[in-house]
């Protein structure tokens, strides 16, 4: 860009640029040479937005390198992967041995038996009316199922999968949140922030931090996911899952909602952590967010147990910002949410992200300048 200006010094863009550099207002430059200057306003915008991206990128890059080189990061990646491998191989072992059949298979078998019984009975009574027969079959099946106990409607695999996913989401979110909060508090305590904020805007700093830490965490989760899924495949338990979703799809769903949940919570962690004077006060400062995370987790587990609830909280919680990242994927896996509902929840939550970001940046700027 600057080369262009040097080549054509009489160009209006150069005059605007020069005016800007001399601290004169942009309007003054525009009024003298209104028409061409107008065209070049985006150039200036572009210039500033480029600087901004550079700064954000630099902050993010630093976060990623520091985090990846930290021992905790490496150790926890190895630990989680190992735990996953041990669990999947144990599951593989128990599958191969003559252990009792899984609950889900038993339930399906039961259902089929009752269904056949009912079908035969109705056929004997009526003869040849398919629609009516079918309707009555369903009715009878339901009645029989009810009489035998409600095991069929409760899919144990789905429930366990949902529980594990909700737990992983909670751990990943609190972990990244803590990293952000600690980082922000340390920067404030060591006054690095004073040097940083004299060369970049608070929003660039927070955005860079959130992106950098988020990227390293997604990488961390991704590695664990690939290792555990691979080990599950090798042990012959990877192909399982429920009728609608394989384990692989469940994992993808969880990572998608982790990204949204993370984007929503991360800036808030930063804003709250900034209110402390020392890094060891961070746990207290971020306790309110931890509470929201815990409530979200328990809601998601509870909503699976009461799938047909018409209560206000349990129906809205799948869409509500801050709770949806936990409740929506679990509701989806358990078939309590259609794809359309999921899309609505996604839209609501994605809209919330920039709002929380703006609020958090305001809070951050205020408490840093105290």
């Amino acid at each position: 860009m600057s080369d262009e200006y040097e080549a054509v010094p009489t160009n209006a863009s150069a005059s605007v640029e020069a005016a800007q550099l001399n601290g004169a207002s942009l309007e003054a430059a525009q009024s003298t040479d209104a028409a061409p200057a107008k065209i070049n306003v985006p150039n200036i915008m572009e210039k500033y937005s480029r600087i901004k991206v550079n700064n954000t990128f630099m902050v993010a890059k630093r976060e990623i390198t520091t985090r990846i080189h930290s021992r905790i990061y490496r150790n926890s990646t190895i630990m989680y992967s190992l735990i996953g491998i041990i669990f999947t191989s144990l599951a593989g072992k128990s599958n191969n041995s003559d252990a009792p059949e899984p609950e889900v298979a038993k339930a399906a078998e039961e259902a089929a038996t009752y269904h056949d019984l009912a079908f035969n009975e109705v056929m004997k009574e009526h003869g040849l009316d398919p629609s009516q027969i079918l309707a009555e079959i369903t009715e009878k099946t339901n009645a029989l199922v009810e009489a035998a106990g409600a095991t069929v409607t409760f899919d144990f695999t789905k429930y366990i999968a949902a529980l594990i996913i909700a737990m992983c989401l909670m751990i990943a979110l609190t972990q990244t949140g803590n990293v952000i909060a600690q980082g922000i508090a340390e920067e404030k305590g060591s006054k690095v922030v004073e040097i940083l904020l004299s060369s970049l805007k608070p929003v660039e700093l927070i955005l860079g931090k959130v992106l950098g830490i988020g990227f390293s965490e997604i990488m961390h989760l991704g590695i664990v996911y690939v290792v555990v899924y691979g080990s599950a495949m090798l042990n012959g338990v990877g192909g399982g899952g429920s009728s609608e979703f394989s384990f692989g799809q469940m994992g993808m769903l969880a990572i998608l909602w982790f990204i949204i949940g993370y984007a929503m919570f991360a800036a808030l962690f930063a804003a709250l952590a900034c209110s402390v004077q020392k890094a060891d006060e961070v746990p207290m400062a971020i306790a309110p967010i931890m509470l929201i995370v815990c409530v979200g987790f328990f809601m998601s587990v509870y909503s699976v147990l009461v799938p047909n609830s018409t209560g206000l909280i349990l129906t809205t919680v799948k869409f509500m910002p801050f709770f949806a990242p936990f409740c929506a994927p679990i509701a989806m896996i358990n078939g309590h949410m259609t794809v359309a509902m999921m899309v609505i929840a996604l839209i609501i939550n994605i809209i919330t992200v920039p709002i929380t970001f703006i609020v958090a940046t305001k809070l951050y700027t205020n408490s840093i300048q105290k």
Binding site: G23, V193, L196
Partner: protein, 270 residues
């Protein structure tokens, strides 16, 4: 780059038990001074006199109550200040070293200095060159691959100064750069100052080492309870305190400091 501070005021609100509930503490009271290009300005004052507050306001990390600060000829603090982007651009050419030191403990020395320099707008090549030069000059190049937290206080402080200098600054703002340093380190740092002033750099620094201030500074400002009580060259200050001027060894500022800040002798110079 020229720094001008005009009528800077800062009040803090402190909660108290008195009936009003809040007392207003005047931290800076009409502080004015300027640091012309290529000059060294020494800031002296008791603890809590307002030295760091002034520096923080200049760097834009603390909002002012009233007054103005000019960098170059552009207003960065005050009612007529330039927009945020321009102010940041101006501040990128200022090397700043806060009193509590501001570097990442867990990052390697060289890596982090290059990062800071690049953040201040240097290209990677320039940053590497500058960082190498200043680490060697301040004799801490052997620690280039160390994490900062592994370094001793004095060495960390040299690194900190290298961080401020390797951003190719046009103005240096240093908050007590000599505190807690051994005599050799002080000499090395003072040399670094002299070296960088030669290339037209302006420096504003605060210190409690008055003999150094007397030796290094072109202008000295003494601040007390938020008010600039003395402003002038070291010789002017000696004159005001009534110390003999034409001696072989100039009277140390430390000997006349008490006289300079005593209430009766205060004569505020513009």
């Amino acid at each position: 780059m020229k720094l001008e501070v005009k009528n800077l005021e800062k009040t803090f609100k402190v909660k108290s038990k008195n009936p009003a509930g809040i007392i207003t503490k005047l931290a800076l009271n009409d502080v004015s001074f300027d640091v012309p290009e290529g000059e060294v300005f020494g800031f002296i004052g008791a603890n809590g006199a307002g030295k760091s507050t002034t520096m923080r306001i200049v760097m834009g990390v603390m909002p002012e109550t009233s007054g103005e600060v000019y960098l170059g000829n552009e207003c960065v603090v005050g009612k007529n200040k330039v927009n945020q982007e321009r102010a940041l651009e101006l501040r990128r050419s200022v090397g700043y070293m806060p009193a509590e030191r501001g570097l990442y403990g867990k990052m390697k020395v060289e890596e982090q200095l290059i990062w800071f320099s690049m953040l201040k707008g240097l290209t990677k090549n320039d940053a590497q060159k500058e960082v190498k030069f200043w680490l060697e000059f301040l004799q801490v190049d052997e620690f280039a691959e160390y994490r900062l937290e592994k370094l001793s206080t004095g060495n960390a402080q040299r690194v900190q100064l290298a961080a401020a200098l390797s951003t190719k600054p046009e103005l240096l703002i240093l908050d007590e750069p000599f505190s807690g340093l051994d005599p050799i380190a002080v000499k090395v740092m003072a040399d670094a100052f002299r070296e960088s002033v030669k290339s037209g750099l302006s420096i504003l620094f605060s210190s409690h080492q008055l003999e150094l201030i007397g030796e290094l500074c072109d202008v000295v400002g003494i601040i007390q309870s938020g008010k600039m009580v003395q402003l002038g060259t070291p010789d002017e200050l000696r004159q005001r305190a009534g110390a003999p001027l034409m001696t072989e060894v100039p009277t140390p500022l430390a000997d006349i400091f008490g006289d300079l800040v005593l209430e009766e002798k205060i004569e505020v110079s513009a």
